[in-house]
């Protein structure tokens, strides 16, 4: 259950708050993760988001920098 620890503490942010975080920070200062399925990502995704489907998240934690804030949708 390492992934649960990784995302602790978790708080919800609104899309406008998320947008502000993205506007105020360089892309290398936060993780932006799309945890939906590849076909959903292909149809539309937030620009700059990294596709890591929920089912693969626990195997791909090393792709994320735990020292940076992570936005997930």
């Amino acid at each position: 259950m390492r992934w649960k620890q990784f995302f602790t503490p978790v708080k919800s942010v609104s899309p406008s708050q998320a947008q502000k975080i993205m506007n105020d920070n360089s892309p290398d200062n936060f993780n932006l993760i799309d945890v939906r399925q590849p076909n959903e990502y292909e149809t539309s995704h937030i620009p700059g988001s990294k596709l890591i489907p929920m089912s693969e998240l626990d195997n791909k934690l090393d792709d994320l920098d735990p020292t940076k804030p992570t936005l997930v949708y």
């Binding site: 998320a18 290398d28 539309s44």
Partner: protein, 176 residues
């Protein structure tokens, strides 16, 4: 993010996680990375110029001209960065001659963008929306390319360009 993608009312990107990445080799040098980005900006500028010839409304022609000039400014910035990084004393015309264009910002071709977004070329709102969609696509591509590249300096360059695209998106939004 509360509400997920459905609550996101800003421009989105489309396509797979690999779309357009063939334009960037994972081991590109900073100079090669800047040349590729420059070619994408040049392609978009040409795209707007070509569309100008296809419309008759003066206000729309002026809008395309404005969008084209924005791309020229992007190109200026990338060229200056290329000169700084490479240390080469190269004339702009010589640099341009080395550039191959085929795709636009975001990695799609002119026709692919028109097919995808189907803009009404008599509508200023549609045209600005198209421009914003292209910038969103570009932001997405540069971010994904930055993750692919193994060269640290190239990675930083791509991240910087991605952030600039985000700023461009904001500026275009103000035109609506």
């Amino acid at each position: 993010m509360s509400g997920g993608i459905r609550a996101w009312d800003n421009p989105v990107a489309v396509g797979t996680a690999e779309l357009g990445l063939k334009l960037f080799d994972g081991d590109d040098t900073p100079q090669q990375t800047l040349q590729t980005a420059y070619s994408l900006e040049m392609g978009l500028g040409d795209f707007y110029n070509n569309l100008t010839a296809r419309v008759s409304q003066k206000s729309i022609q002026e809008l395309f001209d404005k969008l084209s000039r924005i791309e020229i400014k992007h190109q200026d910035r990338l060229f200056n960065e290329y000169v700084r990084v490479s240390g080469e004393q190269i004339e702009r015309a010589s640099f341009d001659a080395q550039i191959e264009t085929g795709a636009l910002e975001g990695g799609l071709t002119t026709q692919e963008y028109l097919d995808l977004f189907k803009p009404d070329l008599t509508s200023a709102v549609d045209i600005v929306s198209l421009a914003m969609s292209i910038e969103a696509q570009a932001l997405d591509l540069y971010t994904r390319a930055s993750e692919k590249t193994e060269d640290e300096d190239s990675c930083k360059i791509l991240q910087t360009i991605a952030q600039e695209e985000r700023t461009h998106l904001e500026l275009l939004g103000k035109l609506l």
